[in-house]
């Protein structure tokens, strides 16, 4: 939990309600973790916790980019296929061109950002709904990926060991993968709270017309959100390659809806204007913890998907209730400055 900018004094109840959202997600993670540990003591093993973090990290990373896009009332359905394409392209370069290890990350991020730029350009210049654009891009990228792979899967022996080490090495017991994702979450989370262009994203998602009238260059901001989402999906591709050291054309298939689910569970409003990247990352961690806990407790994962779905419905219903409450609170509040402060925080009212 990061500290949040203080709301106007006099609205402490509202502030606590808003603040509770990520804390609630984090608490749920702990509850699930605790319950699973009670049933199976091995669940609190270092190994098991490492698995929890690693398993959540890719979805959390993609969730960071997706949050930026969803906050502006757009959608990026192409993240899963961008991840798959970048993972394969980097793996292919490793085996045929023997590029240096560090450049694998650079190339993956650059390729992802380029695809994100295409998404962003089409969405903002041609003014086409982003859901349609990124859905079409999902298919195109998948097709390109399949054509590139064409049966020649990247195998573990073809990935440089220094690169694959990123996928399994730890520092003080914490997996590198989790550290990288945590750094990204912290950096983007800080930026989203602090920097004006990032705050603009909330303004655009809260009320696009008002944002434009306030002089916010909406198109440019939305474009940057898509580029960031693409770049992070690209980075996710590099990390996927490091983690599994094996890539075929099914890498990342179906991730897009998992990512959106994690983001929504983490408290990002699907209609834009509110939510944090920390919440999104916690949402990914919660879904993964539930899944692993079910495996540990029931020694079967059959229930995990149904529970994830029910949880997702509960999360959006809760957010709806929360926003209705906040709206009521705003209406009854006397000072106009209060409205401003909360509108800036992006409550979907």
């Amino acid at each position: 939990m990061t500290a949040r900018p203080a709301l106007v004094p006099g609205a402490p109840r509202l502030a606590s309600v808003l603040r509770a959202r990520e804390a609630g997600t984090a608490a749920l993670v702990l509850v699930v973790f605790g319950a699973a540990t009670l049933r199976d003591h091995n669940f609190a093993d270092v190994n098991s916790i490492q698995q929890l973090l690693v398993g959540a990290s890719l979805i959390a990373l993609l969730g960071v980019g997706e949050t930026l896009v969803i906050v502006t009332r757009n959608y990026d359905l192409s993240v899963g296929s961008v991840l798959g394409l970048c993972a394969f392209v980097v793996g292919d370069l490793f085996r045929h061109q023997h590029i240096p290890v560090w450049s694998g990350f650079v190339i993956a991020i650059a390729l992802g950002a380029a695809i994100g730029a295409i998404n962003g350009l089409i969405t903002t210049v041609a003014r086409v709904p982003s859901l349609v654009v990124t859905l079409a891009m999902l298919y195109i990228i998948r097709g390109v990926d399949a054509k590139l792979v064409n049966g020649h899967i990247v195998l573990p022996s073809q990935v440089p060991s220094a690169f694959a080490a990123v996928g399994y090495r730890n520092i003080l017991g914490i997996p590198w993968l989790a550290i990288i994702v945590a750094v990204v979450v912290a950096a983007v989370g800080y930026a989203m709270r602090t920097f004006r262009p990032c705050r603009d994203l909330y303004a655009i998602g809260s009320n696009p017309e008002a944002a434009t009238l306030a002089g916010i260059p909406s198109g440019r901001r939305v474009f940057m959100a898509f580029v960031t989402s693409g770049a992070l999906a690209g980075l996710g591709g590099a990390l996927f390659l490091a983690l599994f050291a094996q890539v075929d054309n099914s890498a990342g298939v179906g991730y897009e809806l998992n990512v959106i689910a994690a983001v929504v569970v983490g408290g990002v409003a699907i209609f834009g204007g509110s939510g944090t990247v920390v919440g999104a990352a916690l949402g990914a961690l919660l879904l993964n913890t539930i899944q692993q806990a079910l495996v540990a407790v029931r020694s079967s994962s059959y229930w995990s998907e149904a529970i994830a779905g029910a949880l997702l419905l509960a999360a959006i219903a809760f957010d709806r209730w929360l926003s209705l409450r906040v709206a009521r609170g705003l209406r009854s509040a006397k000072g106009a400055h209060r409205d401003l402060s909360v509108a800036d925080r992006g409550s979907p009212t």
């Binding site: 709904p129 399949a146 994830a308 997702l312």
Partner: protein, 370 residues
């Protein structure tokens, strides 16, 4: 067929207005000739010509039969999806509903039920799942895209609980009755069409008549264009949307049974990920993702295009995954072309007149009254 509906184009987000009813305000002939469907017909003809020139076996009845087998059950799900998108909502749970109904059928069959009651229960499960979507969207007032992503996961999860990793019928089960599994093998007597094709055509005619020739259909367009205005005009928007979700659930459950019959087996992951294919078909058919625009003939043409391209590319031994480039490219071009036209008009007019941040209706949360 009401001709005063403006030419639909995906992403064409002209300021929502209810089309004028009087014949005096009809657009000029060239505008009417430029309908979305005209473009689709051209693409379809091109696809057919391309297919028959590249593959000797393309222009045959076998192709038509197998196109029906391959795409029929997806196309059937596209029809209720069209109606739902026209009313300004979306249903992403369709493919999971298909999987769930198959799982219900398989589970009951596994436990010794006769096929008839098992099918009936599977259809009821579809209605129940659709009702859940409908209640969450219309009664609780949640955005339909979030709700149906949730039920997408939920329905698939329930299917997984029911069947686990087994495929029904297992080796110790009775096989499905032959009259049912024949759906995937023999055409409808007297024709060369698969059962799914015939069912799709019948359903498409029914949906087309309802959407384009009844007050209910007009109400769907009205709800998609301006939900509030439609409600004030006396249309029970929430109730209509609720029943559309139920309809979608039943139809998708039915598609699940058809798929089970075609494959002679069910597993929990049948049709995994097809929801986005269904959405792509509907959007390519010219239905606006913002609601209020779209035609059933357009969606039927879109199904025909996707089906014939798939068959042509398959007969040319092109990897099915690579075929996605063609489908995705078509979808992209179909939204960019009208978008660029708008952009050009926009350059000539003043900035700021565009609805840059129009919130799609399925992302809105409005508390309706049932």
């Amino acid at each position: 067929m009401s001709s005063e509906i403006a030419p639909p184009a995906p992403g064409q987000q002209a300021p929502p207005h209810v089309p004028a009813g009087d014949a005096g305000s009809r657009p000029p002939l060239w505008r009417r000739a430029l309908r979305w469907e005209t473009g689709l017909v051209v693409v379809l003809v091109a696809a057919l010509v391309f297919g028959s020139s590249e593959s000797a076996t393309f222009a045959s009845q076998t192709t038509v039969f197998y196109a029906g087998i391959n795409i029929g059950y997806i196309a059937i799900m596209a029809l209720p999806m069209t109606l739902i998108v026209v009313t300004g909502e979306i249903d992403l749970s369709v493919a999971s509903m298909l999987g769930l109904s198959g799982a219900v059928l398989g589970d009951l069959w596994h436990h010794g039920w006769p096929i008839g009651p098992a099918i009936l229960v599977a259809l009821v499960a579809g209605a129940a799942g659709g009702a859940l979507n409908g209640i969450l969207v219309t009664k609780v007032g949640l955005p339909s895209i979030a709700v149906t992503i949730g039920t997408l996961t939920l329905f698939r999860g329930v299917a997984e609980i029911l069947l686990g990793s087994q495929t029904i019928p297992t080796s110790s089960d009775r096989p499905f009755p032959t009259w049912l599994t024949n759906i995937g093998v023999v055409p409808v007597p007297g024709t060369e069409l698969s059962y799914t094709t015939v069912i799709f055509i019948a359903l498409a005619i029914a949906c087309g008549v309802v959407l384009h020739a009844t007050p209910l259909g007009r109400a769907m367009f009205a709800a998609g264009l301006q939900s509030e205005a439609a409600r004030f005009a006396g249309i029970r928007v929430a109730r209509m949307k609720f029943w559309l979700y139920v309809f979608s659930g039943v139809i998708c459950a039915f598609a699940g049974i058809l798929l089970a019959a075609q494959n002679s087996s069910v597993s929990y992951n049948a049709g995994f990920g097809l929801e986005l294919n269904v959405v792509a078909i509907v959007l390519l058919g010219g239905v606006s993702i913002f609601g209020g625009r779209g035609t059933i003939p357009g969606v039927v043409l879109s199904v025909a295009i996707v089906g014939s391209l798939q068959m042509a590319l398959t007969q040319m031994n092109i990897d099915p995954n690579v075929q996605q480039i063609v489908i995705g490219g078509l979808l992209l071009v179909s939204v960019i072309l009208p978008g660029l036209g708008r952009g050009a008009r926009w350059l000539g007019s003043r900035p700021g007149s565009l609805r840059s941040g129009h919130k799609p209706p399925w992302a809105r949360s409005v508390r309706h009254r049932l």
